[in-house]
């Protein structure tokens, strides 16, 4: 069985199935004013008791600030004049009894929230259902006997867990849970993650087949659920569980550890991302912003170029979810091996040396200016920087910057706000740019070294061609000299230098690059902890020494061998 894994970890235990009674309509109409008054009083009393219940929950449990805030918002919802007002209206004007009136009012609000265009708000529908059920329970005085203590090693199986259910989970004995419905943002998911309990939600109706006492394996990362597994499968998962626990402990311990060398040099580790949805993984791995936002995703899988507003929305979402961290937005990098179905690029003999990236943008100004305007407009929502890819000479920088100024002028004229002093930089990925880094540094605010292309251009080795894969070698002294020169020139002219190519995420290269003076590494989020480990275990002095040694080596084979010793 498979669901959505929302909280990683492996749980192996016994099922406990929570049955929920569906609230139902009574159908009786109230005929006399006395009955109506009686139901109004009954309803008010039910709300009072429901609030009392939640307050008791709050005071008897030691809750985290977040869990406590969830209960506060429940109390606020229970107190809500809109709910009460609408229920009383239905009792007064439509002769409904309190039970039915409440069910209708709750269903109405649930519909409103479920139709919102925001995952978070949609998930709030569950909160409203939850408080509805709580009032209903008190209205009907059915003292639902809730089991509150469980056998050790219990895996809860339920249709859904309400916030109050989830908060009061007996975490000592409950080692995991699975629900029929739910999503990444439902309370059950949020709380499972916060408490570190493996959980799978959205398993669907197949979950009802599970009976009390069934043996269960649950994998909260992949969403896998195995009922009554065989011995072999259990053993496999026990190993997997132990490995996960070790790793999780270790990585978690690094997440909030600043990336500082043993001699106090602060290193910035950020992530390469493709859209706003990548942020959670970045922060979970301790990333500080995005050293590269690829914008190609926005242009792919569609029939025409995205309009300015659509692009703006995309960049704005990235900015809004950045938690104030810097984001380097790379302007569109198409051509080469990246094609768009609606944009006809003629076939070329050497596409990587051809019409691509900034070359297209400078030639087809309308595409470029639309993107620049959208990025500029989004720049008020976060710390965005603009980066031009594939720069090979100074002329291209000047042209690109002129067009950027043009985009700003249009926005100014239209009285649209943007960050006027937005930083603009370039990718260093063409050898001619690397060799002239001293000249280019005077024109831009920052460099970001793209090692993938820099390596293939420097060595004239197509990295997709398996026959010459051995030639594509970032540890070749030629590549290392270029990288070192770029870092050195950046420092001399006091501009910021970062690296966003694959080399930045290779722990084998970390000390070498650090020794050259690189202090800003951007990579896939998942690679951050491993690179951080190298940073915090070593000193900058040692790294400098390593680069000094490597500088004197002639063959990348020796270099790799030497570096491997340190890992």
């Amino acid at each position: 069985m498979k669901g959505i894994g929302v909280s990683p970890g492996i749980a192996i235990g016994k099922a406990f199935v929570i049955q929920k009674k569906e609230p139902s309509f009574i159908g009786i109409l109230l005929t006399t004013p006395v009955e109506k008054v009686a139901d109004t009083i009954r309803f008010d009393a039910a709300i009072k008791r429901a609030i009392h219940e939640v307050e008791q929950l709050k005071s008897t449990l030691s809750l985290s600030e977040e869990d406590s805030a969830i209960l506060d918002s429940q109390i606020e919802l229970l107190n809500d004049p809109e709910i009460r007002g609408n229920v009383i209206d239905k009792i007064e004007a439509q002769d409904k009894n309190a039970n039915d009136a409440l069910l209708e009012v709750i269903a109405g609000f649930v519909e409103v929230f479920e139709s919102m265009d925001d995952d978070y708000m949609r998930a709030r529908a569950a909160d409203i259902k939850d408080i509805g059920n709580r009032i209903l329970k008190n209205l009907n005085q059915s003292a639902e006997n809730k089991q509150t203590t469980f056998e050790p090693g219990t895996i809860l199986i339920a249709e859904d867990l309400s916030p109050s259910d989830a908060i009061t989970l007996d975490v000592k004995n409950i080692i995991g849970f699975a629900t029929q419905i739910g999503s990444q943002t439902s309370h059950a998911a949020i709380i499972a993650k916060a408490k570190g309990i493996p959980a799978v939600v959205g398993c669907g109706s197949a979950l009802i087949e599970i009976k009390n006492g069934d043996a269960i394996i649950l994998d909260g990362a992949t969403g896998l659920l195995v009922v009554n597994p065989d011995k072999e499968s259990i053993n496999q998962h026990i190993t997997k569980r132990d490995v996960f626990k070790e790793q999780a402990k270790h990585l978690k311990s690094l997440k909030d550890t600043p990336a500082i060398t043993t001699d106090g040099t602060r290193i910035k580790l950020s992530a390469n991302i493709s859209n706003a949805g990548d942020w959670p993984a970045v922060f979970e791995n301790g990333g500080e912003g995005a050293g590269l936002l690829r914008t190609e995703l926005l242009f792919m899988g569609r029939d025409s170029f995205p309009r300015e507003d659509e692009q703006f929305e995309f960049y704005k979402q990235v900015a809004l979810h950045s938690k104030g961290n810097p984001v380097v937005v790379r302007t569109i990098d198409i051509g080469g091996d990246k094609h768009l179905s609606y944009f006809n690029l003629p076939a070329e003999l050497n596409p990587f040396l051809g019409y691509r990236a900034i070359r297209i943008c400078l030639d087809q100004k309308d595409i470029f200016i639309t993107q620049l305007k959208a990025i500029l407009r989004a720049s008020v929502f976060g710390d965005l920087k603009i980066m031009f890819p594939m720069i090979s000479n100074i002329h291209e920088i000047r042209l690109a910057k002129n067009i950027l100024e043009e985009a700003k002028a249009i926005l100014r004229q239209d009285r649209v706000s943007f960050k006027a002093d937005i930083k603009a930089g370039i990718m260093i990925e063409v050898p001619s740019a690397a060799v002239t880094a001293d000249l280019l540094a005077k024109e831009v605010d920052f460099f970001s070294i793209g090692t993938n292309d820099l390596c293939q251009y420097t060595l004239a080795a197509d990295r997709m061609n398996e026959k010459i894969a051995h030639l594509y070698d970032p540890f070749n002294p030629a590549v290392l000299r270029l990288i070192s020169f770029v870092i050195e020139q950046g420092a001399k002219q006091s501009i910021h230098v970062g690296m966003c190519g694959e080399m930045a995420g290779d722990p084998l290269a970390t000390l070498l690059l650090l020794g050259m003076g690189l202090k800003d590494f951007s990579m896939s989020a998942a690679l951050i902890p491993a690179v951080k480990q190298v940073v915090i275990d070593n000193s900058w002095e040692k790294a400098k020494g390593i680069w000094e040694r490597v500088k004197g080596m002639h063959d990348s084979k020796d270099i790799i061998e030497y570096l491997t010793e340190f890992n």
Binding site: A69, I70, D72, S73, E76, L77, N79, D80, P81, E82, I83, F109, V112, F113, M116, D117, D118, Y120, M121, R124, D127, I128, K316, L320, H321, S322, K323, F381
Partner: protein, 88 residues
């Protein structure tokens, strides 16, 4: 009556937690306080009403305050939108 416009500084917008705080804040004053987005106005005594406006980060809302303590209320509302929301 005092009317002020605010841009929502919290990236996630007015979700449950800031909403709870804003409602609590509004209830602390005698003035009638309401909030308006896209032509829809709700009183700030209802969490559901507030949440149903689906106010997102970067959007602009208007807040109307009227009553004997409107000056003090305005100060508190200013602080909420300009400072508290920023730190979320």
């Amino acid at each position: 009556m005092i009317t002020n416009n605010y841009t929502i500084l919290a990236p996630q917008g007015i979700h449950a937690r800031p909403a709870t705080m804003l409602i609590k804040l509004a209830k602390g004053f005698k003035s009638a306080i309401s909030i308006k987005k896209d032509g829809k106005t709700v009183k700030l005594n209802s969490m559901l009403g507030l949440l149903s406006l689906n106010i997102k980060g970067g959007e602009t809302v208007a807040v109307m305050i009227e009553g004997e303590d409107q000056v003090e209320a305005e100060r508190a509302v200013n602080q909420f939108f300009n400072d508290y929301l920023k730190d979320l």
